[in-house]
Every structure is written in structure tokens, then in C-alpha cells.
Symmetry: C2
């Protein structure tokens, strides 16, 4: 029994030091996993090619609340929005998210994000605009996280 | 036993018809309760008097992401934001929320809202602007729901 106790005690010390299996390490891992999924999505959108795969990161009932635009609701409308964006000359988008917060059951989450979007400017010259927003994510029945709300607005005029 | 069975069967039929105690009626009640709390908050903000009570509906770590403004983070900054808003001549705000969605554990929720805000216009004449947004709510340790994210943007130019 003694060696087993030493082993158990060593494991305990190791886990206290390294945080293995603790709620915090588990939470950090889950946050990283969701940020990783969001990052894959951002890279996919950045390529501006695959409409269906890009649209697949939103839930079927997702809403996109873009400044000065009607609310885009549901997968069909979202698919159209993505297709039109990708078809826009010189269109480019990329975003980076952070600060993931979960519901205690880890079935709902939200995060902040900062987005750079290149669109045709007033005189046709491409211009890059910044936005900062919130995405809300839901872990669906298949275990996959999908974005269910996507809303952003303009940063202060002075910021880049 | 027979009368008891009839009673039980009648209750079952009644409850199937009326939805009493079903997950749906329970969910609707919870949604209504949270919308009621949001409505009380909107009325309080509309009065434009009680800074502390108005600020108490946000969580201590809440963020407000208002268009073209730096992100307002934490209770002290939020309190200042509310106090400055209430001190603005002719300031008036009111909002109405709907479409509450919960995490399965009912500890995190979000809803959509439409807000009318009266602020001084470019020439000092009060003007009323609309916004539509998302609030995210967290049920905190004391059992109370508080808003933890508050973000909105402008509706399409054509809408009222």
C-alpha cells in the first residue's frame, strides 16, 4: 500500500502544481478549443471561397446583426449574405476573438471579436474597416459549437 | 384505487392540454420572468433618476459596447456612463426586449432589444435615435439575473 500512497500523493502534488483535471485547466482547454474553432472559421472566411463551409459555422437559426443592415436570420439568408460578400470585388475579411465565457453547463458561450473587412469604398477604391463585436455560440445536439448570434459595431473614430 | 386512477388520468389529460409543469410552460415562465426584469430595468432607466439602481442590473464585470465609443467595462465605468447619460439635457431612453434564449442549465441567457434614445442633436435640438441590440444575461450566485454584455448598432437608414 505504501508505494501506492506515495504514487497517489505524488500525483496529487503534480496535479496541484500543473492543474491537471482541475476545473480551471478544464475550462482553459475548453476556451482554447472554442477559440481554435473560431480561428479556423476566420481563416476559412478569409480565403473567401467556400460559402457552404463558411456558413456551416452558424446555427440554422442564427442571426447576424450588421450595422445599418436588416437583421439576417436563418441559414438560407446567411448563405446568401456570405455568397454575396465573397462575390464582392476585393472583399476580404478576417477576425480574431478572445475572452470566451461559458454557461456553467458549457452549452452556451460568448466571446468578443475584432474584425477587419475590406470592401469597395465610396469611389470604388477598396477600404478596410474595423469592427468589434460579440458572437454567441451554442453547443448543438451533434456536440459541435455553432455561432447563433453575430453582432458588431464601429470602434471609436480615433482608433485604427 | 380506481377513483385515484381517474384523478391521475384526468390530471394527466389536463396537464397535457394545458402544458402545466411541462418543460415548455416552465421555459415560457422563465422567459417571461426575465423579460419582466428587463422591462423593470427599462422603465427605471426611462425615469432617468436612479443611477445606482439602474447600474445594479449589470453584472460587476459587464461590458457595454456602444457604437463608435470605447468599450465600457466594469461597474464603476458603467455607473459613470449612466450618471453622465442621466445628466445630459433632454436625455431619455427606453427599450423593449424579446426572444429570450437560455443555456440548458438556465444560467446564461440572451435576448434581442430595440431601443429609442433621445440625445442632443448636432445643433442642440433633441433627436431620437433607434438602436437594436443583444443583451447577454447571467444568473449570479444570489439567484438574480444581471446583464453581462450590452451591445447594439444602428438599424438600416430607411427604418424609423
Amino acid at each position: 500500500m505504501f508505494p501506492m500512497r506515495i504514487l497517489a500523493a505524488s500525483s496529487l502534488v503534480f496535479c496541484v502544481l500543473m492543474g491537471c483535471g482541475s476545473p480551471n485547466s478544464d475550462l482553459l482547454a475548453e476556451q482554447q478549443k472554442l477559440l481554435q474553432r473560431d480561428s479556423e472559421w476566420a481563416n476559412l472566411a478569409s480565403e473567401g471561397k467556400d460559402v457552404d463551409r463558411t456558413a456551416s459555422y452558424w446555427s440554422d437559426d442564427a442571426i447576424i446583426v450588421a450595422p445599418s443592415q436588416p437583421v439576417i436570420e436563418g441559414k438560407a439568408a446567411i448563405r446568401k449574405f456570405v455568397a454575396e460578400s465573397f462575390a464582392t470585388p476585393n472583399f476580404h475579411i478576417h477576425w480574431k476573438s478572445e475572452k470566451v465565457a461559458f454557461s456553467p453547463d458549457r452549452k452556451l458561450a460568448y466571446m468578443t471579436s475584432t474584425t477587419q473587412t475590406t470592401v469597395p469604398g465610396p469611389n470604388g477604391v477598396p477600404m478596410t474597416v474595423s469592427g468589434r463585436g460579440i458572437t454567441i455560440w451554442r453547443r448543438e445536439a451533434d456536440g459541435q459549437w455553432r455561432c447563433t448570434v453575430d453582432i458588431w459595431n464601429d470602434p471609436p473614430p480615433a482608433s485604427p
